[in-house]
Amino acid sequence: MHALYLVIAAACVLLIGYRLYGTFMASKVLAVDPRIVTPAKRLEDGHDYVPTNRWVVFGHHFAAIAAAGPLVGPVLAAQFGYLPGALWILIGGVLGGAVHDMVVLFASIRHDGASLPQIAKKEIGPVTGVAASFAVLFILLITMAGLSIVIVNALNTNPWGAFTVGMTIPIALFIGIYMRFLRPGKLGEASLIGVVLILLAVALGPMIKNSGLAFFFNYSSKAIEIALPVYAFIAAALPVWLLLAPRDYLSSYLKIGTIGALAIGIIAVNPVLNMPPITKFVNGGGPIIAGKVWPFVFITIACGAMSGFHSLIAAGTTPKMLESEKDIKIVGFGAMLMESFVAIMALIAASVLPVGDYFAINTMPAVFAHLGMHVDKLPMLSHLIGVNVAGRPGGAVSLAVGMSYVFSSVPGLSHLVAYWYQFAIMFEAVFILTAVDAGTRAARYVVQDMIGVVIKPFKKINWWPGAIISAALVSFGWGYLLYGGNISTVWPLFGVSNQLLASLAMVVGTTVILKSTGRIAYALTTFIPFVFLFITTLDASYFNVTKVYLPQHMILNTVLSVIMTVLALVIVVDAVIKWSGLLRDRKTLQAQKVRHQAMVRELAAK
C-alpha cells in the first residue's frame, strides 16, 4: 500500500474528529464560555499571565507537547505492523488524547492556571494531590532513562553523529551568551545563527569521521550511558539562560522545519509501506517489545495518541496564555491531533523500510539471526550512510533511516543520504538532551524539597551541598536505569508511567466534568478512556514485572513499577470515594445538570 492512502485517511479522521467530537466536547460537555474572563486577562502580569493570540498559543503548546515522543513510540510499535499503531494513534488520539489535553486545559483555566497536582488536590483531595506529585517525580526519572537509551543506540560507534550532537553543546552555550550579552533580545537572529552552526556541524561530520579526530568521538554504548547522566548533572547546574534555554529555542526551529519537510517528503514521494498491516508479533514474542499488541501498542505509543506528560503542559503555561475559553478547542484538542499527524508520519517513515531491514536495525544481531528474516537494502544504506545501522534499537535510527530513505527518493537529493541520516539523529538528540536537562533540574528540585522535610538545610534550594547531592541522586538514579537496561526494558517502563499519569489526569477530568455538568453521560467521555487506559497499563506493568524485570533481577525497575502502580491505585480509590459522594448527592447533581443545560442552550443561541 502506498503511504499517501494512510496520510489521507489519517488527515480525514483527524479533521472529522476535530470538527465533530472536538466541537461536542467543547460546546456540550465543557460548555466553554467566551464570556468568562480567562486568568490570562484577569491576572495579567506581563510575564506569566499574558493574553496571547490563539495561533501563537497553538504554536507554543504544540512545540511543548510534540518532541521526541511522537517520533520514537510509533517507530517501535511498527513491530506489530503499521495497522495497530495507526488505529491507536487515530482513535486514541481523537477519543483519548485530545480529550485528555482539552479537559486538563479547561480545568486549569477554571482554576486560574493551577497545575495538575493542585487541581487534583482541590477537586479530589489532598491524598491525590500528594500522590500525583510523587508520581510526577518518578515519571521524570523514568523518562530521562527512556529517552537517553534512544540516544545511546544512535550514537555509539558513530563518530559523525557524536561529533554533531556534541557540537550542539558549545553552539547552545554560544547562543546563550550571544542572547544574554552580545545581542540581547534578538531571539530570531540568535536562533538562525544557531541553526546554521548546527547544519555546519552536520556538514563537517564526514571530515571529522575520516580524520584522526574520529578517535575522540568514537564511543561505546557503555561510555555514552555514563556520559549522559554526567552531562545532565553538570548541565542542570548551569544557569537556564546559558544552555537549556538556547537549546530549547534551537530545537523548536529544527522541529518545525524537519517535521514539515518529512510530511512534504512523504506526500511528494508517496513511498510504498513495506511493513505489513499486522505482523506475527501481535501475539507476543516480539524482539523489540516482548508483549502482545494488547496492551503494549498502547504503552509504546503514548505521545501521538494519549500521553500523561501533556497534562503537565496543559496545566502549565498554556492556560495562562489563552485570551478566551473558545480557544480551548483549537489549542487543547487541535494541537494534540496535529501531534497525532506527526506520529503517523513517524510510523510511515518506519514502515517504508523493508521488513527485514526494520528488524535488523531494531534488534541486536544475535536476536535478528533467529527471526528468520533477511536484510534487503540495509547493507547498501549502511554503506551510503557510512555507519552500520544494524543492531541499533531505540527508534531513532530506524526513523532516521526511514527519513533518509524518503528524502533521498526526492530527485536531486539521493546523494545526501548520509547527511539526512545524521541530521535526523541530531534533530532527535537535541530534543532529548533538552528534556534530559530540564527533567534532571525539575527532579533535583523535587528531591531536594522532599529530603528537606527530614534534613532542614535541603529545603534551601540554593544550598550547594543539598543541590549537588540531590542532582547526583537524580542523575545516578536514572543513570542506573539506563546503564542496566535496554530499549525493551526501559521504554515499556516509561510508557507505563506516562500512561498512568494520563489515567490520573482523566480521573481529575472525570471529577471536574461530573461536578460541572451533573451528567454521568458526559463524565463517561473521560471515564471510559481512563478505564481502558488504566486496565491496559496495569496489565502491561504486570507483564513487565513478572515476565521481564523479575526474571532478569531488575530490582529498581520492579520497585519503580510497583510504586507507580500503588500511587495510581491510591489516586483511583480516592477518586472513586469522591465520585460516590458526588453521585449520592442527587439533589446537587440534578441542580448542576439543570444549570449546565441552561448554559449550553444559552451559548448555542449566541
Binding site: 507537547i65 502549565g316 525539575a442
Partner: protein, 101 residues
C-alpha cells in the same frame, strides 16, 4: 511577602548597597516539561536589556528591612526570601522558596 534574610542583609551592609533587583524569571519548555528556575538577584536598580527601554509596570519597588527591593511585578505578592548562599568563598544573593515547575 518578600523578606531578606539576616545573612543577606549583612552582605548588603558590607557591600554598601541600599537597593537590590530580582531579575525576570525565564520559562523553558523542555520537551513536555515547563520549568522556571529562581530568577537571579543583583545589586542596584533594574537594568533594562541593552537597547531596550524598561516597560512601565514591569517592576515593583518594595521597601524591605530598609532596602529598596525591585521585583518583577507579577512576583510582588509571593512569599519569597532573598538569601545569601556560599560556594566555598564565593557569596551570592539568591531567591529561596521558589517552586520550579
Amino acid at each position: 511577602m518578600w523578606t531578606i534574610s539576616p545573612e543577606a542583609l549583612a552582605y548588603l551592609r558590607k557591600s554598601g548597597s541600599a537597593s537590590l533587583t530580582v531579575d525576570q524569571p525565564l520559562i523553558v519548555d523542555g520537551c513536555c516539561l515547563q520549568i522556571s528556575e529562581p530568577p537571579a538577584v543583583y545589586l542596584g536598580e533594574p537594568k533594562p536589556a541593552s537597547g531596550k527601554k524598561r516597560s512601565p509596570g514591569s517592576y515593583t519597588a518594595l521597601e524591605v528591612h530598609g532596602i529598596k527591593l525591585h521585583v518583577p511585578s507579577h512576583l510582588s505578592r509571593l512569599d519569597l526570601i532573598i538569601d545569601l548562599t556560599r560556594f566555598f568563598r564565593r557569596e551570592k544573593l539568591v531567591v529561596e522558596g521558589w517552586n520550579l515547575v
